[in-house]
Chain length 183, copies 2
């Protein structure tokens, strides 16, 4: 089922893939997929072996309100990556950089499971939500790459709160600030 | 000579590697290394198969002065990556994400060939230069990953100048703005 799900999400994207089609490809009943994995979101998180389910972390990120969102997103990113999920996260990044299918899956994951949820709270037009979300990703994946893969100092050994203070304002500007929006 | 250089730069870093030691490892005279590659900077750029020599692009990046630096850095990044150097750049990123040696080489490249040159024009303390440079890298590698690897829309298909307008201010803040510096 997970292999069928990966194939479907990579080929059709998260929105285009259906539990019904995934079940058919796996030769099982759709009810069985629901029974084991719950929602399509949860199936996707399991299929790409995401180290965490963003849905579970969301309440904490949103708890500080709109003006704390930038800092809270960076804080949560660092907490997840500084913790035991780091190897699984690195595997996901390696797969994304190594082949197109991995890149498509990670993109779908970031857009549908992370960005839509965070940016979705801001009451933006769909277009503006897409643009602001993509800008946020451009900073967050850069933090991951510089701190955990390239290990560029002092990012690699900074305390999380130091990075929250330095980088949080960037994410906040992308989310709610004055940005000349591309596209 | 290039294999010996890659080994030396990966093991000892750019500053620790010497042309003399590289020549010895390659079984040639140091004069021959200088003859073929010029300076240690140039040897390094050749050894990691960097698609461009940042030293050659620097005058244009600096031409707009201190207040244009953020936008000009983003503009140059996009010009290089949107051009024929993209496959070589992607190979460098793949190698960096795929193994520690590749990561060390790309880190050394970014720090010694790109950051020191750009940030070196700002008359900062060595510590502040290091911190601001690393923050700049965190945004730039994120742009590369989102636009060229993950292909997240609308970043992937935006006009370069749209991204310069949206992301330039972030790089400018990291270079010369008000930043709570980590470390």
């Amino acid at each position: 089922m997970l292999a069928a799900a990966r194939g479907a999400f990579a080929e059709r994207g998260f929105d285009g893939a259906t539990i019904r089609a995934i079940a058919t490809a796996a030769g099982v009943d759709p009810a069985l997929v629901h029974h084991y994995f719950g929602s399509k979101d949860q199936l996707f998180v399991a299929a790409i072996e995401a180290p965490v389910d963003p849905a579970e972390l969301l309440p904490e990120v949103l708890a500080g309100g709109r003006e704390q969102l930038g800092e809270n997103v960076v804080r949560m990113l660092l907490r997840v990556w500084d913790g035991p999920m780091q190897p699984a996260g690195l595997a996901l990044v390696r797969s994304a950089v190594g082949n197109d299918r991995g890149a498509r899956l990670l993109r779908e994951f970031l857009v549908t499971q992370v960005l839509r949820r965070v940016v979705g709270t801001l009451e933006l037009s769909p277009r503006e939500a897409e643009v602001r979300g993509a800008l946020v990703v451009s900073q967050l994946v850069g933090v991951v790459l510089s701190r955990y893969v390239l290990r560029i100092e002092p990012l690699a050994s900074s305390e999380p709160e130091e990075l929250v203070a330095a980088i949080g304002p960037t994410v906040q500007r992308y989310l709610t600030g004055d940005v000349e929006l591309p596209g």
